[in-house]
Amino acid sequence: MDPLTAAVIVVSGITILSSLGLTLTYLTTKVPNFAHSSFIAVGAYMGVYAQQVAKVNPLLYLPYAFLAGAAIGFLQYKILLKPLIDKGANIVTLMIATLVVTIFFFGVINIVADWMATTYKVNSVLINFKNSDFTIYDIPISVISVLIFVVLVSISLYYLLNKTKFGIAMRAAIENPSLASVVGINIDRVYTFSWILSGGLAGIAGVFFGFQYTISTNSADFFLPYVFASSILGGLGNIYGPIPGGIIIGTSSIVIPYAIAQLGYPIALNFALFVPLAIMAATLLIIPQGITGINFRKLFVRKLKVQ
């Protein structure tokens, strides 16, 4: 398979998985989670542990990555954000509270990396999972599993939100928390669930991260703008926003630098970060509500009337 296509699919998948969680937590607790990169980094280090210490394919550690991310998301909400929200903290205070987790896990991840290096005598920084990426019918396993995960997560999210009682309660809690709590929906349970899911999905994204990028203790930090851009482009008000947002961000951040490199400026490959940044700025200026927030029908009807 063409490596460019593989890169596009994997990066889009990582972006979708991680920004789904970001949008979910934004919809419920209304705070942009700066610690989202910590979830990704913890998932990535689960993969590093699998490849370097346990000597198995990192994909086998996906459940552990999910659990680790989910646990951090759960603790972040229960220990840090919930008590602050109950105290009536404003949004900037909550944003600062997410910094607590970011700084804390910067230390923890470095400690884990050092511990792996000294205890097991293996490399624990500048790792990628390219060697674990075997192919089936010429398609890399990372591409297959990313596709499976994205489709699975999207379908189950749709099913959860539309067909189950809990999902409908969740939508109600997102739409209007006070009204939902009046009819007996446990808002706290809905919020806890969204944080667990957010952390878990980012943990899974972290394992896939190693198939495309080099993992270092701070490498997930550079990915945070991608996640923000994808969530904002899709629309922070809509849970399905990250799916188109992630596809556009993932594709353009690979294809545009590659195209410029083909024109004779190979240095463009190092500046891929500017693509999501530019898209984020353009979105906020032109369509702040995001793609899913545009009323396409209204746009179309208005055009007809003009003609």
């Binding site: 944003m95 910094l99 804390f104 923000f228």
Partner: protein
């Protein structure tokens, strides 16, 4: 033999530039967040801007002014030779050195103000949450450029900053140790200057306007204050100040490499300092900065004695300690160690006393040329 006193003086000399730089960065963030309520999660942009100016400006000016092109390309393998040549010129020309130093500081401040202007553009349009996200993403721009391209600071190799105080040794035969003291005095001078500037600014009428905008935008607007202009100006001032912080870090180590500026140490740590020390209180913020640099450097100092007992580098304990301090502060002391002082206005009794005094002394006031219509106007607006 090195005594404990020598070690202490070494330690103090090591932390002074750090403390000076972070006091300045934290004060600039305090100006934006504490006094105006802008959540600037992109401090890294202005800090790295200041550092990069120190990295390329003095070196490149000398490179072109003295026609050193024949030695080779400025960045890359010949860089050390070129900077060595520049240093040899500089140690015999005190005026040139001082001029370059001041030029670097001024250009860094101007560039920082420009970066503040750039980041103020989204700050005028967006809500706090969106603003936080875009500023955080924007903060990385200069570092990415600096790391991946030769032009400002030599890419992954970094650059050496010419020694701008070398003339003290070369021309005036001052001992190298004393030059370090002079350097520290310069940094402390900058920090003290910024402290008093910030204090003056927030205690002036402008400072009261900023707090009014923070507390109630609509009210400030109804009183005729243009929020857009105030936000833009404050972000420009804060950008200029933060870039001095980055400049101090660069001049201290006499080298610049893009990876030395990162989101954690230049954006998140100043936030910890401001929030724990006390937002909207310059003394608290300064205290926070001093405290946290001390914690960071003491852990650095004792890391070799801790190393045998734990299977990792003890420096990673410092982010954990800092984050716990931030968390505890959010719960138990949300206003910080030193709280914001309420703005002192005249008490009601004082106002009534003054009004009565004016009433009783009409003739004197007329004689002094006092405009009596103003008082009538005030009465009509029912302030009294």
């Amino acid at each position: 033999m090195t005594t404990a006193l020598d070690l202490l003086s070494l330690f103090i000399r090591d932390i002074i530039p750090w403390i000076a730089a972070f006091i300045i960065i934290a004060l600039s963030l305090n100006l934006e967040y504490g006094y105006l309520g802008i959540p600037n999660f992109g401090k890294l942009l202005a800090v790295s801007g200041g550092g990069f100016v120190a990295g390329f400006l003095p070196g490149l000016i000398m490179y072109y002014a003295y026609n050193l092109q024949n030695l080779g390309y400025y960045y890359g393998t010949k860089h050390i030779l070129i900077v060595y040549t520049i240093n040899n010129i500089l140690i015999h020309s005190p005026l040139l050195s001082i001029g370059l130093l001041f030029l670097t500081i001024i250009v860094a401040m101007a560039f920082g103000a420009f970066l503040g202007l750039v980041s103020s553009y989204p700050a005028l349009k967006l809500r706090e949450d969106y603003l936080g996200m875009i500023l955080l993403a924007l903060g990385d721009v200069l570092v990415v450029i600096g790391y991946n391209s030769d032009i400002p600071v030599g890419g992954s190799l970094g650059v050496i900053v010419p020694s701008l105080l070398g003339f003290l040794n070369g021309t005036f035969n001052i001992d190298v140790n004393y030059i370090n003291y002079i350097k520290d005095a310069l940094f402390i001078g900058l920090a003290v200057g910024v402290y008093f500037f910030a204090r003056r600014l927030v205690n002036s009428p402008l400072g009261r306007v900023l707090r009014a905008i923070r507390d109630n935008e609509t009210l400030a607007q109804t009183l005729g204050k243009d929020i857009v202009i105030y936000r833009r100006n404050v972000m420009m001032i804060a950008g200029a100040l933060a870039s001095i912080g980055g400049l101090i870090l660069a001049l201290n180590s006499e080298s610049v490499i893009a990876t030395k500026y990162d989101r954690l140490s230049d954006t998140f740590y100043p936030w910890v300092m401001v929030v724990v020390g006390g937002a909207a209180n310059n003394l608290g913020t300064t205290l926070g900065a001093i405290m946290f640099i001390l914690i960071l450097r003491i852990i650095d100092l004792y890391k070799y004695s801790l190393m045998p007992f734990i299977p990792f580098d003890p420096v990673w304990l410092s982010p954990i300690l800092l984050s716990i301090a931030l968390g505890l502060s959010l719960f138990f002391r949300p206003d910080g160690l030193i709280r914001e002082k309420p703005t002192k206005t005249l008490s009601e009794a004082e106002v009534i006393r003054l009004v009565n005094e004016i009433k009783n002394n009409k003739s004197t006031l007329y004689a002094l040329g006092f405009n009596f219509n103003k008082i009538k106007l005030l009465k009509r607006t029912k302030i009294f």
